[in-house]
Amino acid sequence: MTEQAELNSPPALPAAPAASDRPRLSPRRAGLLSPLGRRGTPARLFMIAALLAGGLWAGFGSPYINLIGQACVIFGIAALGQWMLVGGAGQIAISGGAFMGIGAFTAGLLANAGIENFFVILVVSAVVGFGVGLLSGIPGLRFRGLYLLLASLALQFIMQSISYQVQQKVSPAGLVVPPLTIGGKDFSFGTSFYWLVLVILVVIYALLAGLERTGVGVAWKALRESEVAAAMTGVDVTKWKLYAFAASGAITAIAGTLFAYSVGRADHESYTILVSISLLTMLFLGGSGSRIGALFGAVIITALPYFLQSEVSVWFQNAGLSFDWYTNNMSVINAGLFSAIFVIVILFEPEGIQGLLIKLETGIRSLFRHRSPKGAKGVES
């Protein structure tokens, strides 16, 4: 009996050897402690500063800028939802638009049924998004890469068709979503809606950042790197993959609900494959490797059409040229533009803007490194 017990107890680990007995190994890449801090930190800080500045500008700027800010924040949330799946857990899907639609239609249907409490609507949307996300993860258990992408494409079209049918039955002009009120206070007026969605974005961002530090984030990271290696290391691949799809669905659906509030209705035409493509473009443009990159990409892609419409059209007018061709065909041209950006990014800078910034940073670092005395780096332990 005692021998059996001995067999079962793990070998105890002895006390650590003295520091001098430990093997000495030098890291391959030196220069980690240069004046700029860890590699990638300055690039991140730049992006964070730019987003903060933009966020404040939208909050205190003109109503037009505020409107753009709203859209940027809402799509920022959707981009975070997609980032969680694509960047975080390494799965690929092109159904972000469908999940935004799920959130919007959940809000519309609930409002139609007389339920107008914002928090109830938000929670129900998240739950529905979670559930559908879980289901959408099932093909992910069997397929990877292109096949998974095709499965998500199918989901996109199924959702488009269902939302069309629902809209025809309930309210062909779109499901009305009433102005947002919380405890009798109107949040649809002035900048209050902007601040509300910004708070929701910050909360979701903070939750994701916190989650990344827990085992959930670590499991997703392992999945992203290699499913087989993750499985051999003890990660329950099936479970964490499904949760990634589900959580992504919930966040993206919340974005859809907020979008429906911002335009006052849920209309199936707003959640097409074009939205899915633009969401993926946001991720890859900013840098799919990080949350901050996803937000950065979301702001650029969301603000770009407004910029074209208001600023570039003025340039054209000043030059005596017509800009009607753009204003009249905006959605089609934007879709083409986003797809072109997507292809260009994938071809030339797969790490997106963040990758470009890090390259810039590396250049600046090499300047520092040439000046520092040679022996000062690479000393470890």
Partner: protein, 257 residues
């Protein structure tokens, strides 16, 4: 012999494996007793990694079975095998470059439930509070503590190999499977890996050790199994196995290609 009491930690019995319709392993049998190291040598493509894949349940068997402490592993999924206390290092260092050393080594203690995973971050705090954490102990043992917060991709191959070994040891309370711990490691740094391996052996960890370098395996195992073309050539005392004509022939034969 106290055969009645001594349960082998690992028993592989008449295992056949086919992948994509091709027979990869045929009638593989061996066992590993507690605290012992079984070395497996064989040329590239002999099926060494596949044997570990069978034990860690990522590859199905056509025939035969694997017993762990006398119980068949059956149809367990890979993470359940980990839960039994079987740790495994990976032949390739291409994985997990974004993850920090501590995260990676702690991965083995990740509970696959939402609540368990959410509490995973407490690992660091445990160490700070002075409470024991196997990941921290293992890092300490292998002299990796000061790399804890570094992403794996920033480290040299030798350190990556050590980290991988640490990851396997953190999980493998009862059995550690090491797949080519010296591959890609330059001559000067090989000693570091050898030192780490002897520490594991001194602790009495049960090990299956694979390497393409027969000299390295021979010097670091209690039992040696030589294989080629998916079959066991010979198994037994390391010296005898290496000196046996059929093994010598297979190695000589190989050097001609």
């Amino acid at each position: 012999m106290t055969a009645t009491l001594e349960v082998a930690t690992l028993e592989v019995q008449h295992v056949d494996v086919e992948l994509g319709g091709v027979s990869i392993l045929r009638d593989i049998s061996f066992d590993v007793r507690p605290g012992q190291t079984l070395g497996i040598v064989g040329p590239n493509g002999a099926g060494k990694t596949t044997i570990l894949n069978v034990i860690s349940a990522v590859v199905p068997t056509v025939k035969g079975q694997v017993l762990f402490k006398g119980r068949p592993l059956g149809q367990l999924r890979p993470h359940r095998v980990r839960d039994l206390g079987i740790g495994r290092s990976l032949q390739s260092t291409h994985y997990f470059h974004d993850m920090t050393v501590l995260n990676l080594v702690s991965l083995g203690s990740l509970r696959n439930t939402v609540w368990g995973a959410l509490r995973f971050s407490d690992h660091r705090k445990l160490a700070r509070r002075g409470e024991p954490s196997r990941a921290a102990e293992v890092l300490d043992l292998l002299g990796l503590t000061h790399y804890a917060d570094r992403p794996l991709g920033e480290l040299s191959t030798a350190v990556q190999k050590l980290v991988d070994m640490a990851r396997a040891l953190a999980v493998g309370t009862d059995l550690v499977l090491l797949d080519e711990p010296t591959s890609g490691v330059s001559g000067a740094e090989r000693g570091v890996v050898t030192t780490a391996l002897s520490k594991l052996r001194e602790l009495g960890v049960t090990i299956v050790l694979i390497d393409h370098d027969p000299g390295f395996v021979m010097a670091n195992c209690d039992q040696l199994m030589a294989m080629n073309f998916g079959e066991v050539l010979k198994i037994g005392n390391p010296r005898e196995v290496m000196d046996s004509p059929e093994v010598r022939q297979s190695y000589l034969g190989d050097s001609q290609y």
